[in-house]
């Protein structure tokens, strides 16, 4: 198992945002996570990637390391990369610097070498820069490398965030609504790029997405959250027909008598 959680819980005051979730993810899988707003999808990401601390009793394991309550940068060093729903682009940095900052965990030289400006730093930097330019051309942003990230369009920003997350060559990539706000054509294009990157880097993916077509078409397995609990898990087809899932999204299915009662009021 690449990622494993046991009894994962998190409460904010009285609200149980995540309630005893057991989650297992094998290597090379594409896992979709769906659920209504406020069901705990993003909380799950934040807990796993170390942005939030978990409640006592929780356990998270990633690639053989116990990462329960480990600091976020440590988890990233183990090879877990993620994107954010609100993108969190480095607005005032150039596109190239955005991607290069994603390379941080792989930088081979030590800090002291950088202070005294040894030649090998500039050689390494040149290699990093070339590699990152390749990545930018792959997602189609090479021409924009020198511009500030704030000058990109919405679709380009999504691509940049993706490239930045890939730059660290992660084992597991967690995408928080990668296609939110994109037009259908752009969604297809983005998903194509994501799949190409998956093959190229041998990634395991977790995707939170509200566009069900994306989830149903690309994911091997789908996990459904509601009210901080895992209510269903299985292949896209299984999940689609699951009563609990339908209930969570559309409300309870009523029989004739219940319907009559409800309307009589």
């Amino acid at each position: 198992m690449l990622l494993k959680t046991k009894q994962l819980s998190k409460s904010f005051g009285g609200l149980k945002a995540m309630n005893k979730v057991d989650f297992e993810l094998p290597k090379n899988e594409i896992r979709g996570i769906i659920g209504p707003n406020g069901s705990g999808k993003s909380t799950f990401f934040n807990l796993v990637s170390g942005i939030y601390d978990t409640d006592p009793g929780s356990y998270i394991e990633f690639d053989g390391h116990d990462i329960t309550n480990a600091p976020a940068h440590k988890i990233a060093e183990y090879g877990l990369s993620r994107t954010f729903q609100l993108l969190r682009l480095y607005q005032d940095m150039t596109v190239l610097n955005n991607v290069m900052s994603g390379y941080h965990t792989r930088i081979p030289y030590r800090f002291f070498d950088a202070v005294v400006g040894r030649k090998k730093i500039w050689d390494q930097e040149k290699i990093i820069k070339e590699e990152m330019m390749d990545l930018l051309s792959f997602v189609g942003l090479a021409d924009y490398a020198e511009l500030n990230a704030s000058e990109l369009s919405g679709g380009q920003r999504r691509l940049l965030v993706l490239a930045r997350a890939i730059a660290m060559k992660p084992k597991l990539l967690m995408l928080d609504e990668p296609a939110a706000g994109l037009s259908p054509v752009n969604v297809d294009n983005l998903m194509k790029i994501i799949m190409q990157l998956k093959d190229k880097y041998g990634l395991t993916l977790i995707i939170i997405e509200h566009i069900l077509k994306v989830v149903m078409d690309t994911c091997n397995t789908v996990t459904v959250f509601d009210h901080g609990q895992k209510i269903a898990e299985g292949s896209p087809q299984q999940v689609k027909d699951d009563n609990a899932v339908i209930e969570a999204y559309l409300g309870k299915k009523m029989n004739d008598e219940e319907m009559r009662k409800a309307l009589a009021v």
């Binding site: 954010f84 941080h104 030289y109 400006g117 930045r164």
Partner: protein, 331 residues
């Protein structure tokens, strides 16, 4: 020409040696009297401070208003070491840098919890506390100041006049700027920038936010300490608590903002411009602070990345147009 550019890109220190050579040959042509040599040394001191401030403020985004306190620590470490132990410049300089680094840690710890204006208030308190501590302690000669701090000598040659001291301040400035250049161009500079832009995302990308924040404070404190020591030994070698007030801090901030926050040459450009303007407007001393305040405000409003960013912008837009065709206009 291209080959030369390639060599500079591979060995950036060559550019700094060339700059050193030019600056070493300059005095007979440009600095016609003693006062101008003195002013040149002041510019170099300001460049060192501003380059350091650019690391913590411009790159790492931590709003510190106590930097002048660190500058004072550097000066007074050098001053007191001379006063009580008779130490010379070559000993006081490294000690001042180390001592100031420790004060930098103390100044940086609040940044774990505070940001923006709150951090500014905390560091302002720190900086002023240092000044008041000096001003009210007999150990530091309180308001008399420490005088007659000797200029350094090397192999029997005394750098005891402003036109000779020029070479000391200039050499240290070149070394300091080289270090700041190396730090900011490498992955460390990128880590600083990521923290400035979004600490949460930086942490998720594998950057140890606390470590790099404190690192930024330590590095910039070391610059301030070096500048303080150079300033203390500057002939006639007199330091007084009044040289380290908030007004000086505003001047340092104005340098970094005008030169370009987060631009690699920002602090340097700003230090040169502001020090010269400051000197030329001495007859209007009543309005100087007003002018600097307005400079900061107008720069932030109309040129948020300062002079350095403005120049960069021009070339980037030009290159982008050349690459993608002129009809596509950016911004």
């Amino acid at each position: 020409m291209d080959k030369f550019k390639q060599i500079i890109a591979d060995y950036p220190f060559i550019a700094f040696i060339i700059a050193f050579g030019i600056l070493a040959l300059l005095p007979p042509f440009v600095l016609t009297d003693v006062y101008q040599s003195h002013l040149a040394s002041l510019i170099f001191v300001n460049i060192i401070v501003a380059a350091g401030l650019n690391i913590v403020k411009g790159y790492c985004g931590q709003v510190t208003v106590g930097h002048v306190g660190l500058f004072a620590v550097g000066s007074y470490t050098a001053g007191t070491l001379f006063l009580y132990m008779g130490m010379g410049f070559w000993v006081t300089l490294p000690i001042a840098i180390i001592v100031t680094a420790f004060f930098g840690v103390a100044m940086g710890i609040p940044s774990f919890r505070l940001e923006g204006p709150y951090l500014a208030l905390a560091t302002l308190g720190g900086g002023e506390a240092i000044r008041l501590f000096i001003e009210n302690g007999n150990f530091f000669r309180s308001t008399f100041g420490i005088s007659d701090i000797p200029a350094p000598s090397l192999f029997g040659y005394n750098f005891d006049t402003p036109d000779r001291y020029y070479f000391i301040s200039m050499t240290i400035m070149i070394i300091a700027v080289y270090f700041s250049f190396s730090i900011l161009r490498s992955g460390v500079g990128r880590a600083f920038m990521s923290i400035r832009e979004d600490p949460i995302c930086a942490a998720a990308a594998g950057i140890n936010v606390k470590k790099y924040k404190i690192l930024a404070f330590i590095l910039s404190a070391m610059f301030a300490g070096a500048a303080g020591a150079v300033y203390a030994h500057l002939p006639p070698g007199y330091i007084h608590p009044n040289n380290y007030t908030v007004i000086e801090m505003v001047t340092f901030l104005a340098m970094v903002v005008l030169g370009g926050l987060g631009h690699i040459w920002g602090g340097i450009i700003g230090a040169i411009v502001i020090t010269i303007v400051y000197d030329l407007t001495r007859p209007l001393y009543k309005y100087q602070l007003l002018i600097f305040g307005l400079t900061i405000i107008f720069t932030i409003l109309f040129m948020p990345k300062g002079i350095g960013g403005f120049i960069d912008r021009y070339f980037i837009t030009k290159r982008f147009k050349a690459k993608t065709g002129a009809e596509k206009n950016v911004t």
